[in-house]
Amino acid sequence: MNAPAPSLTAARSAAADGRPRLSGAQIVVQALVDQGVTDLFGYPGGAVLPIYDALFHEPRLRHVLVRHEQGAAHAAEGYARSTGRPGVVLVTSGPGATNTVTGIVDALMDSIPLVVITGQVPTHLIGSDAFQECDTVGITRPCTKHNFLVKSADDLAAVLHEAFRIATSGRPGPVVVDIPKDVQFATGVYVGPSEARALHAYAPQTTPDAAAAAEAAQMIAAARRPLFYTGGGVINSGPGASAALRRLAARTGAPVTSTLMGLGAFPADDPAWLGMVGMHGAYEANHAMHDCDVMIAVGARFDDRVTGRLDAFSPGSKKIHIDIDPASINKLVKADIGLVGDARECLEALDAALDALPRHARAHSAERLAPWWAEIAAWRARRGFAYRPSAKLIKPQWAIERLYALTRDRDAYITTEVGQHQMWAAQFYRFQEPNRWMTSGGLGTMGYGLPAAVGVQTAHPAALVIDIAGDASVLMTLQEMSTALQHDLPIKVFILNNEWMGMVRQWQQLLHGERYSHSYSASLPDFVKLAEAYGALGLRAERPEELDDAIRAMIATPRPVILDCRVEPTENCLPMIPSGKAHNEMILADDAERLGDVIDDAGRRLV
């Protein structure tokens, strides 16, 4: 720590070719500015102090100080998902880097663009087990899209620009750039994004093959039971993809369902919307998946939570799989037609290919699809999300319905933790626009929602940002309340408090003979007092008649709020496709009495 600190006042000597030479730390800051970054999430420490020193002099970059590096990664994810721009994280070496790993894996699983800059011990100490040293690139190699250890300040600018290019192009993902402290001090030549040479041949295909698109259009035009199955790829592609999806759904008359990750790409108020598909998805969506004749999968990866029993997955359908990642196509489910490319480009190519069909072939015939819609109407009439209302206890489903009713006219962004509350939020909060729903899908990270809300609110200061949380999840990253207070981020934490790890309790009830092993949230804190301790507003709703007023008070408060919503403790999240069962073997709330018998021994062994 005795080395001289660099600063912008340091002499900028010019290299032979007239380019400015900057310190490594200045190069980092300059590259971030040139990449259009305005906000970053981080935590200082010994091995990144030179970069923090350079940040001190840079008014164009807003730094949000988190309370734990995992929070920085999730906040950056929330920022990225709500804006479509990459999230940026800055942390120190050793524990700073390892603490981000959960967030990095989360971003990898959900294809979220992150650039994570980690400090590293000086190059001459690497491998010596120095203080706060860890093999950051080794640890993060399997959990990033790509990562770099930068050993020369002259390489730094090109590496950082390459990191942004890799993180944001193709299938997005997290990129780690590990920068030893001596490289931050050393001077190097700075190059801007446009003049930086690409370091890899990496060039993902974004435009689909026209012949395949034409073939797909023919298949869609001939379908009698078509279905769009859309995923996070539609969100990642940008608002243009959602617009293209809406146009295509309208012209084909086909119903639309989506994965957890894809909610909002298609408006929930549209009559063609079937609701979410999958384990806790809509009855009508799962039956439509099972019985469709042409499935158009767009930016979705046939995750096990979606497909259920694979060999019984949509047995009678032809499948068109649109994905920017060629490795996703045919990975789990065989596609009859694979379209590799960006979701928007692929959907627009399908649109154009439909235009090119002969008139009789492309005419959208409501008549031809009428029997299909009649079947869907019958499934809808089954009311798969129905639950037994209560006058005495707040039903968690009802709490989400009221939250939606009271926030639907607002510019609302919803994040969640992981568990029952997450599924209820996905079932009952109705998303009309993309980028409004931030949840940990692939990794299922409890503790995601609160820091993600911090990130979303950073990007959208005037919006209403609500973390729909559970009492167990929220305690995993609760310290980020302090971040929200410090940075005037008026996030709302809406806790569905059932005093249980609800999803664990539900599985123990269904699969493990009601032996509730360590799933009761004993010794819960008083969330109202806890909110007050942080300087936030604490509210509580214990009875149904208190709920609306509490939600209104939460919305009206221009600072962070924790609302402790006490809900029915033993409510189960239904409907549900039990493990090892097919889409048309869902169990619904009204046959919940026989839950224990539905799942056989084989199913019990599945996750």
Binding site: V137, G138, R141, P142, K145, H146, L149, I166, L199, H200, A201, Y202, H287, H290, D291, D304, T307, G308, R309, L310, D311, A312, P315, G316, D325, P326, A327, I329, N330, K331, L332, A374, E375, A378, W379, R382, S579, G580, A582, N584, A602, G603, R605, L606, V607
Partner: protein, 196 residues
Amino acid sequence: MAKTDLDATSPALLSATASAPASAYDMGARTEVEGAATFAVLVDNEPGVLHRVVGLFAARGYNIESLTVAETDRGRHTSRITIVTRGTPHVLSQIEAQLKKMVSTRQVQNVTTDPNGVERELALVKVRNAGSDRLEAKLLADIFRAKVIDTTTTGFIFEITGAPAKIDKFVGLMAPLGLVEVSRTGVLSIERAAEG
């Protein structure tokens, strides 16, 4: 209406699923035939790139039967990694797709399915023997065009190159003739030059 549909589909469904896996978790139980494949992977020669490839195989549960790697184009900083693996056609196509997906990858070639692919391996084979075994070993080595690179009165070290099957065969023949140790390079591969 929904009920009728279920009844209509379930018999077909049952017959189709009798031997198939019950869920994604049982995919390993698929009964497709496994085969060997050799992938030639051209990668950027940068720190950690071998770990990426090996890590990909480990993380996704693929086998590595042999692996060779060296820088092959100093000017373009590219290395060639040749991997011999086993899997069902479905797994092999996933391996190829996952290898291509790596940022450091420039090109992936399935040498086994490429009619222009050539595969060779080099092995050093140590035998200790005397008398008729010694003569027999030398005779077989001549037939296999193995070179003697070291000799003592009690043994040989042979150097043999060829397709992996040829080396397997030679090693098998040496086993009763005093085989002591084998060192193999793993498979190298290259594409035949275009004709004309």
